[in-house]
């Protein structure tokens, strides 16, 4: 099994996709961080807007910047890990080498978790390099506990890793690369955003992977739409793992018995 996971990672790192997606992810995170810095402390018609950079709440908010972008990019990565095998018919060689197909699926899921976690780490390091100096320059004090940085970091790490699994499951289900990528973007960027951002829909949104990920990070900052009500962190973790298992089951159910012609 270690050999198979290594082979899957080798597949990923011998084409250009991984670094292109990573650069896009860091660029977008940078753009959003710039936005959070630029609009820090600006009041929203008298209501609470983005906190000032010396407020511990700002560091908390800024530390979540890359989360959604990480989910999107990693889900796309997972989709492509699966669909490119069908697009280029490399699945034939993969199954000739490892005819026990469920082993291939498990190896893909494990390597997806690994790569998702690596992307999350890259984003967290990048955020630290921007957020810490910003707080210190504005005369604030960085309090890890008050800004909940350890919990948010762990939340991003775990949720991002799991989005790779969601992507692999989606890719196995649709098999068409474009459909899979569009599906991943529409899901994470539009559907989940709507259900997690609009308070009236959060009753549903908190049960979606995005809402569960937010629960894991325990984000409770009011940026103008009211304080969101997520599941408790452990509940979010359970829901996320549940989705992970569901997508893993979808990936193997759709692949293990199918004729490869």
């Amino acid at each position: 099994m270690t050999n198979l996971v290594k082979a899957e990672l080798q597949k990923l790192f011998t084409t250009r996709l991984w670094w292109i997606l990573l650069i896009v992810l860091l660029l977008l995170t940078g753009v959003f961080l710039a936005f959070f810095i630029g609009f820090a402390g600006v009041e929203n018609n008298g209501a609470a807007g983005i906190p000032a950079t010396d407020d511990p709440k700002w560091a908390q908010l800024a530390w979540t910047t890359g989360a959604q972008m990480s989910w999107i990019m990693v889900m796309i990565l997972g989709v492509i890990m699966m669909t490119s095998e069908f697009r280029y018919q490399t699945i034939t060689g993969t199954f000739l080498t490892t005819p026990r197909r469920s082993q291939v699926i498990v190896a893909k899921l494990v390597s997806g978790l690994v790569v998702g976690a690596l992307y999350a780490l890259a984003v967290l390091v990048f955020q630290a390099l921007v957020v810490i100096p910003t707080v210190l320059i504005s005369g604030g004090e960085l309090s890890l506990a008050e800004s909940r940085i350890p919990q948010i970091s762990l939340g991003i790490l775990v949720s991002t890793a799991l989005y790779a699994v969601f992507g692999i499951g989606l890719g196995a289900l649709v098999r068409n690369q474009i459909a899979g990528i569009v599906g991943a973007i529409v899901w994470t960027y539009i559907i989940e955003s709507i259900f997690t951002a609009i308070p009236a829909l959060q009753g549903v949104g908190k049960w979606l992977p995005g809402g569960a990920s937010n629960a894991l990070m325990s984000i409770d900052i009011d940026t103008g739409l009211g304080v969101p009500h997520w599941l408790p962190a452990w509940g979010g973790a359970l829901v996320l793992v549940g989705y992970g298992l569901l997508f893993a089951a979808v990936a193997s159910a759709t692949t293990v018995r199918r004729d490869i012609t």
């Binding site: 597949k11 250009r16 490119s84 490399t90 060689g93 080498t97 490892t98 005819p99 490869i260």
Partner: protein, 296 residues
């Protein structure tokens, strides 16, 4: 043990019966040509043999076992399927190295296999720029990684230039006759494999129509000797008296069955008849192939 064994294989795709009760086997040390027109069911048969397609009924075994139950399949079976099954952005060497990693083979096998198929110079090139012929060679290299003793090749000559086809023929003969491997090679073009194969299996519309050695197929129903003489009318009864079946063709030509050339010469000498031609008739394999596969 029989290297490849297919027993009563049946596979339908919806209403299309792609393979309909096909049985044959391939022994070590021989090259078997798996022939049939496009759509005959060759690819479906080979993919069933490799565990990629699940047959409706029947068995397809390699070294006595289903492919999916082989512990280290690359070391038992080398397969070449589509020429296009590579990621265009990956180099030839990396493609093979990934297979080595997954199969637990040493990474150096990748370079050795590339060398064997004459692709060493292109090892670090991305497959994107490869010609169809180079892709076929790369596919063959992937089949060689585990140094197996059974080879299953689906239309490997597709896209090769004449020199490439000549090279492939030599290579397959070498694998079978020098290394003792069992080679099963499919083609819809008889002439591609005619000079390479020891045995042939012919299918059409999913059904097996003929199998046997190449010699058996060309001497379709017993040896025929073609005899030309001006005294055909006298020779024919004499040959029949000697136990032959004789068919008279126009222009003083007889087609004789049941006697060899020496016996025919003796009869002619006894009758003091001059023969102007005595030749063993080989049926044109291409004609046989067309006859067997047409109208089915």
């Amino acid at each position: 043990m029989t290297a490849i064994e297919i027993k009563n294989l049946v596979k339908s795709f919806g209403a299309v019966k792609a393979v309909d009760d096909v049985s044959f086997s391939v022994e070590a040390g021989s090259v078997t040509g798996f022939l049939g027109p496009n759509g005959a069911g060759k690819t479906t048969t080979l993919r069933s043999l490799l565990g990629l397609v699940t047959p409706d009924s029947g068995e397809a075994l390699v070294n006595g076992r289903p492919y999916t139950s082989l512990a280290a399949p690359l070391t038992e079976v080398g397969a070449v399927l589509e020429a296009t099954s590579f990621h265009p952005g990956r180099t030839a060497r990396n493609h093979l190295r990934i297979m080595c990693t997954a199969a637990g083979l040493p990474a150096k096998r990748a370079d050795e296999a590339l060398d064997q198929v004459g692709l060493a110079d292109a090892a670090n090139k991305r497959v994107l720029g490869f010609s169809l012929g180079m892709r076929q060679r790369l596919a063959l290299a992937s089949a060689l990684l585990g140094s197996p003793k059974v080879y299953i090749l689906d239309e490997p000559a597709n896209g090769l230039d004449p020199a490439g086809i000549e090279w492939l023929r030599g290579f397959l003969r070498h694998l079978a006759h020098d290394d003792g491997a069992a080679v099963l090679v499919s083609s819809h073009v008889l002439s591609e494999v005619e000079q390479t194969v020891d045995n042939v299996v012919i299918i059409a519309k999913g059904r097996l129509v003929r199998q046997g050695s190449l010699a058996e197929l060309t001497t379709n129903g017993g040896e025929v000797i073609r005899v030309r003489t001006v005294k055909a009318a006298e020779l024919a009864p004499a040959l029949e008296a000697a136990g032959a079946q004789v068919e008279s063709v126009d222009d003083g030509v007889l087609r004789v069955r049941g006697l060899d050339t020496e016996a025919i010469g003796q009869v002619a000498l006894d009758q003091r008849i001059v023969l102007t031609e005595v030749a063993q008739e080989r049926s044109d394999l291409q004609k046989v192939f067309l006859e067997l596969t047409e109208g089915r």
